[in-house]
């Protein structure tokens, strides 16, 4: 019993040290990924800022102009939630194909396979952080009141990163064996987008009960993205951090990360045969 525990621990330590020894590779892969994202496009890296801006414009058009939503500072509200959503969605979509789309590498060189989804997620994270820093800069420039809780922002980003990375590793592994997943993920992401309060606030969702369950609570308490998106907004403009929900999300994120890592470790030896 003790022995197997020790072995389990040393296996984890070994896996971590292996990935650490490939940190240089991870760095190169992230850079590669960033380079490839905007290669052959005229505006290049600007797109990582431009596309959320344009999406924000679309939402403003739809919800502010057409439906007259009364959320104050609607552009800021939108951007604060949209950026993390784009990052998370990009991580899942990118992670999904990170293994199956790199058959060339999988078949020919050895490296810890976790690096494939991780590099996609990290590349997205770099863009996300830059975009968010610019958002905060814009807020400062426009004299929008910020709160001291902004110091929690990096922590929330880190939490978001762990969550996205875990999810990316899970879908990357599963997609190798069940390609059906990629179709499901498409629909799933769409549903997830609407179930996350990105262009609306939690307040507008009525407390509906369905089969005796509180829908509001179920959908939003159990949706880590709902917590994350509201967290970003709260620390930015409300000066408040919902500790309890965030703690739940932390547990979920760590669990997903552990699961993703485990799946990768456990099944990556089969990748070369299948991909």
């Amino acid at each position: 019993m003790e022995k197997s525990e020790a072995r389990g621990l040393s296996a984890i330590a070994g896996a971590v040290s292996e990935v650490a020894s490939f940190s240089e590779l991870l760095r190169t892969m992230v850079i590669r990924d960033l380079k490839l994202r905007y290669r052959n496009s005229v505006l290049g890296f600007l797109w990582s800022l431009l596309s959320p801006l344009l999406m924000t414009l679309v939402f403003i058009l739809v919800f502010k102009v057409l439906t007259q939503t009364d959320i104050p500072n609607y552009p800021v509200f939108l951007m604060a939630g949209l950026l993390p959503w784009i990052f998370t969605q990009g991580s899942v979509a990118g992670g999904l194909h990170s293994v199956t789309g790199n058959a060339n590498l999988i078949n020919k060189v050895y490296f810890p396979r976790e690096l494939l989804p991780l590099s996609v997620v990290l590349a997205g994270f770099v863009q996300f952080v830059i975009a968010y820093i610019l958002l905060v800069a814009v807020l400062v420039a426009f004299r929008i009141e910020l709160h001291a809780t902004i110091v929690f922002l990096p922590l929330i980003m880190l939490l978001n990163l762990v969550f996205a990375a875990g999810l990316a590793m899970v879908v990357a592994t599963v997609n190798v064996f069940f390609r059906d997943l990629q179709h499901l993920v498409e629909i799933g992401l769409l549903a997830w987008f609407f179930l996350t309060p990105i262009f609306y606030t939690l307040a507008i969702v009525r407390n509906t009960s369905f089969l005796g369950l509180d829908v509001h609570r179920w959908v939003f308490s159990l949706n880590p993205m709902a917590t994350l998106v509201t967290d970003y907004r709260y620390v930015l403009t409300e000066g408040y951090l919902p500790i309890r929900h965030t703690a739940v999300t932390l547990v979920v994120a760590l669990f997903l990360f552990g699961l993703g890592w485990y799946l990768m470790r456990r099944y990556s030896y089969r990748f070369a045969e299948i991909v």
Partner: protein
């Protein structure tokens, strides 16, 4: 110090039907040793390298590797097509655990060896397979891994670079680095490897010193006829201690690349480098060819054409072009000698069985010891009148390697099919050099004109995409303007399109067209700059 052990492993699929790619394969390679792995396609050779490079994991058994491993497994291993050559060098370095800084130090060496200076900032999706190979190989050499795994990659690329690679590998071997070399060319394996493992159907068929295993392999693959040939002792022997000495001897193929094998009808050049201590004016250089059973096949010397020649102190070179070789399949040895006129029996220097020449067996096969140029012609049913003289069997004047027994004429001269003379398709993608001579490319179309004699025939067209392609290439094959079949080409491996042709009663002109759906850059004669996107060639024409 370094040891590597594989024991009873295999590679089971997820299907109910199990297939073991390898079983009971155990071997150890010591540091500094070179192990060659030979065997037919699909025998499991490449699987061994994949296991060693950790891209596959054995289902059973274990592998112990001590040291860093670089696997040059396939073209473009670990390259990203959208990145430039420069970026890929650093990316590839990271896969090997070589950091950015270190790689920066190796970078000039890599670029210089690959000779890709002009293209190093071009995304490598525009590279040809030869250029991929140059880049990969140059990185492998520069990084100097403890263990180098090489899988057939040298088959691609132009002759000059292939030679450079082989020289570099010989250097690796001299430097006592560990190397595993997989090939189905036993000659190259013999050149680089101390030990050879012969894999057949996933098991070790034979394992031992290179010379023995390859002998065994060649006997087995060259059919029963040669297997029956008793192998005489072929160990080299040396005699004489005169003032002129042979210092180096090689056989070169038609491209000037060192070779140990040839097909009937091909020509090889024997190049001997000698060192003379003093001036002599009555020296004769001679060469003798013996079959492996000791049969004296042929002997020639400079005395026949030149008479005695004079040598100056220092080094000099003598060359002898041999061929077209009319030799049947099997192993031959060449002995070299230098003597002074009239002193044939006491040579200045004699190297007995110095060079080995393996004659391959062309497709279709030959029986017998000698290949005689010939042409069969069967007349159509006639009125019973004796055939006139001009219908009698004509000897074929020109014997080229593949067309020897093929009743096809060369395309008529002055065939007008395109604008640019150099845009031929055949060259470079053809296993048999210089044939067919003129497949012409116009935009999306390639055409070759052949004359079919009275026989049923099969035409084999080979196609490949030298570049990594995202989507398959589609095309049609037409004969005299009529569509016969369509085809798709997706990979860098040659795919054969086989066309049965109807028998004809009299020689018929056939215009064979290859029509692609999109415009591609075809194979261009001459290597640099290499922009090939599509290789297409008429590979073979068989009679049934």
């Amino acid at each position: 110090m370094f040891s590597l052990l594989l024991a009873a492993f295999g590679n089971a699929g997820m299907d109910v039907e199990q297939f073991w790619a390898l079983q009971d394969v155990s071997f150890t390679v010591e540091q500094g040793e070179t192990l060659g792995i030979i065997g037919r396609n699909g025998s499991g050779k490449s699987t061994i390298l994949k296991l060693l490079s950790r891209t596959l994991r054995p289902d059973e058994g274990r592998i112990e590797v001590d040291g860093s491993v670089f696997g040059l497994l396939e073209l473009g291993a670990g390259f990203h097509p959208d990145l430039t050559g420069r970026e890929n060098i650093f990316l590839n370095g990271s896969f090997l655990g070589v950091g950015h800084k270190e790689m920066g130090l190796l970078y000039p060496e890599i670029v210089a060896f690959s000779e890709l200076e002009r293209f190093i900032d071009t995304p490598i999706k525009h590279y040809s397979s030869g250029m991929y190979m140059r880049l990969g190989f140059s990185i492998a050499l520069a990084v100097k891994p403890d263990i180098l795994l090489i899988d057939e990659v040298l088959a691609v690329g132009d002759a000059a670079f292939a030679r450079k690679c082989y020289d570099a590998l010989a250097e690796v071997k001299r430097a006592k680095r560990t190397m595993l070399f997989v090939s189905h060319d036993p000659i190259q394996v013999r050149r680089f490897c101390d030990q050879v493992m012969w894999i057949e159907e996933g098991r070790i068929r034979s394992y031992g010193p290179a010379r023995d295993v390859i002998q065994e392999y060649l006997q087995s693959t060259q059919g029963p006829m040669t297997a029956e040939v008793h192998m005489a002792p072929t160990d080299p022997a040396e005699e004489g201690d005169g003032p002129v000495k042979i210092v180096q001897s090689v056989l070169l193929d038609e491209n000037g690349v060192e070779t140990h094998s040839a097909l009937p009808g091909e020509t090889v050049t024997l190049r001997v480098r000698y060192e003379a201590e003093r001036y002599l004016d009555d020296v004769i250089f001679g060469a003798a060819l013996r079959r492996s059973d000791g049969l004296h096949v042929y002997e020639t010397s400079t005395a026949e054409s030149q008479g005695p020649v004079s040598v100056q102190p220092g080094y000099g070179t003598v060359e002898c072009r041999l061929g077209p070789l009319p030799l049947g399949p099997g192993a031959y040895h060449i002995s070299l000698a230098i003597w002074r006129e009239g002193e044939r029996m006491s040579p200045l220097h004699l190297l007995r069985n110095d060079l080995a020449l393996f004659m391959g067996k062309p497709r279709g096969g030959h029986r017998g010891t000698t290949v005689i140029p010939h042409q069969w012609r069967v007349a159509a049913a006639d009125s019973g009148v004796l055939p006139s003289v001009d219908k009698a069997v004509k000897p074929q004047p020109d014997m080229t390697s593949s067309s020897m027994s093929v009743p096809w004429s060369m395309p008529p001269e002055g065939l007008n099919m395109g604008r640019r003379e150099e845009e031929y398709l055949g060259d470079g993608w053809h296993p048999v050099e210089n044939w067919p001579p003129a497949v012409r490319w116009i935009g999306r179309e390639a055409r070759v004109v052949l004359t079919q004699d009275v026989a049923r025939g099969t035409l084999v067209i080979s196609a490949c995409r030298p570049m990594h392609a995202d989507r398959p290439v589609k095309g049609r094959v037409t004969v005299n303007g009529e569509e016969i079949t369509t085809f798709r080409v997706s990979g860098i491996d040659f795919e054969d399109i086989v066309l049965p042709l109807d028998p004809v009663n009299e020689p018929t002109r056939l215009e064979i067209g290859l029509v692609m759906e999109e415009t591609f850059v075809p194979a261009v004669v001459g290597i640099d700059p290499d922009t090939r996107e599509l290789g297409l060639a008429i590979r073979e024409i068989r009679i049934e």
